[in-house]
Every structure is written in C-alpha cells, then in structure tokens.
Symmetry: C2
Subunit: 197 residues, 2 copies
Amino acid sequence: MARPREFDTQDAIKKATAVFWEKGFLEASLPDLLDGMGLTRGSLYKAFKDKKNLFLLVLEHYEEEAVGAAKARLADAQVPDGRARILSLFAALCAAVAAGDTRGCLLCSAAAGFEMSDPEIAEAVEKGMRGIRDGFEAALRASATHRALPDTERKALANVLLTHYIGLRVLARSRMPLGILEQSVESVARLLDMEPV
Amino acid sequence: MARPREFDTQDAIKKATAVFWEKGFLEASLPDLLDGMGLTRGSLYKAFKDKKNLFLLVLEHYEEEAVGAAKARLADAQVPDGRARILSLFAALCAAVAAGDTRGCLLCSAAAGFEMSDPEIAEAVEKGMRGIRDGFEAALRASATHRALPDTERKALANVLLTHYIGLRVLARSRMPLGILEQSVESVARLLDMEPV
DNA sequence: AGAATTTGGAACCAATCAGTACAATACACG
DNA sequence: CGTGTATTGTACTGATTGGTTCCAAATTCT
C-alpha cells in the first residue's frame, strides 16, 4: 500500500550513536548527524521526532550494545573467577585506548557534561551507570575472594569499581598518556586482592 | 591619560570561572558570560580577546585556585600522615556534594567533553591533571605506609588515585545518589591500607 | 496500470551563535 | 579647562543552530 522505509531504523540509530559518541549530544549538530546517518532532515524528523528523542534512543542502544558488552564480560562463564573478569574488563579498556579508540564512554561524557540538566537524559544515563555497577556487583559475587563479603561491603566495592571505571574512561577520552591508565589498572588490581576486613 | 577599566580583571576571570564551571566551555554562551561577569561584549573582547582565550585564562585561574586548594590539602603539614591527607581530600569532595555542590571538576568535565579536540585546551587540562596526580604522589611520599614504596609503585598508586578522583568528580556532577560516592571513598581507603607487595 | 502513501531533499524559519565596528563616554594629564 | 586616549555600550555581521513545511518522486497494493 505504501512506500517502505529505505533505511534500517536500527542501523540509523547505530550510526547516530557513533556521532553522539564522538561529539556528545550538545556538540553534535544536525548536519553532523545527517552526514553520519546518511539521511536527510525530513527523514530524520519523520522517523525520530527530534534530536533529543534520537539521543534517548541512542542512549538505549548504547546501553544494550556497549554496556551490555561490558556486563557480558563481567558475567563471562568461561572466566571462572569474578575478580579475573573485572580485571579483564579494565584490561580491555586499556587495550581499546592503545588501539586508538579515544572516544571514552558515551554515558560518562554525558554524565560529566551539561546534558545532565535534562531530566530525561539524566535518568537514562543514571540507568546505564547503575547497570555497570550491578555488573561489577555480580562479578564480585562470583569472586572467590569476595563471595563471602557482607552485602554492604560488596556494594561499596562495586561502587569504587564504578568510580574507577568512569575515571578510566574519562582519562581515555582526555588523550592523556596511556601509561596512566595502565598503571591505574595495575594498582586497582590490588584493591581486589585485599582480604575482607 | 586614558579611561580606566571599570572592572577588576581577576574578579572578572573569577566570575567567568563560575559560568564555565557550571556550563562547560562550549555550552556557555557569550550572553551567559556577559551576564555572569557583569560586562558587555566590547569590554570582554577588548580585555580577553575572545571566548577561548578567556577560557584558557579561566583554566589557569582554576588550576591556581581549585587545584591549588586540593594540593594544599594533600600537603597540609597539620595532618601528619599523607594517607590521612588523601582521605581528607576525598571526604571533602563528598562533603561538597552533600552541601549541594554538583558542579564537579572543571578540568574533569572538559576532559570528558569535546573541548579536548582543541590542542591548547587539551594541554591546559592535561597540565592540571598532572598537577593533581603529583599532589597525590607527594602525599604518598609523606605516608608512613607508602614512604618506602619504590618509585614506580608509588607512581602507579598516584595514578589510580587520580583516576578515582576523576570518577568521583564526574559522579558528583551526574547528580547520582550521594551514597555511591561515600561508599566509593570508603572502599578506596582500603587501597591505602595495603601492605606494599 | 492506477490509486494510495510515504519518502527524500530543498527551501525556509526564527533564534542564536561568536565576533566586529564604531561612536559615545569618562578619566588623566598638560 | 580642554585634549588625548582607552574603555564602554550597542548596533550589526554573517554564519549556523534546531526545527518545519512543502511537494515531487518513488514504490507497493489493488
């Protein structure tokens, strides 16, 4: 009956994610997005309503994709111990920077920026952050060293890991020497070697 | 001979710092700055050349003022042990958030944002970051537990503290529950209790 | 083939951006 | 008391912003 859409919605969101990831929400202009997504103003507004709505969809997609990948690593059954999974996640972050990926984390950049003054965006970012923290907490539950930890202790540890994660990703974006990240990861490994107090 | 300037330059920079701190470099519009600084376009451009130059001056001022305060705390001779100074700095960050200051750190926000694509800004931000890390390193040298640490170990520890610092300040800005920060600080304290390996 | 529908692209909008030009202003010195 | 000089406020620039609207071209179903 009607003409079908010539682009794949998910693919368009994926491309929009790349643009927002590099530039951030406020710095990404509409032409930037149209270029990156390969479609025109009319199509974008028809399909995604407006820029902010598109960004919310992007946050959702990022959470499924990128945050999901991190959580998968933290829950990877092939790595028997949760502690090792956590270190493997941090190592992967360093490896990404070493490979030239200095985009950092979309959520972290949004969290540090003025975009948080929008309540809808703030809520979506918070949700993603909680997801990462929960991933750490689950990994700690699968760690021989931390399994027996009381709940409050484990939660506190998960929070420091989230803090560390955010710090690392901001550092990644700031183009500071890679050594800082690597040494930082090296040192945080010892935090996980601690005996419960 | 000439008409004297009606405003104090340092005071104007101070006020500009407040605007940039809240909004970030790219999000702070010229009217925002003019409002906050209490002067007009002509005066601003005459005195500070342009927005970016003003921001570089602001970064300099921020480094002297805010970073300086953090370094002072890390070097506070009234607190005998370096470890305690570090914890006192982190506690102060939590206290600031508890008191309603959700601005985070100007340098950290810039590091997480698109402003880093400007080399001059990136260099100034990096310099500030290095300053904080050096502050941590100095405090570690004054810590009974860490005094004897080999240089590389101490540097690695300073880097993880910098990472943690950045993470905390981004979290502060993200308006996430205060408990996350507090538990995070609580946990990092144990990192400093570790015996050298 | 023809009707129905949605697409894509350009034209357009008002608002805002950083930055500039310039005339009015106010002070210090002779 | 004027003259020279630097600062001031403002009007203006040209570019760009996010957001709309319109319509011809395109495509699928009847």
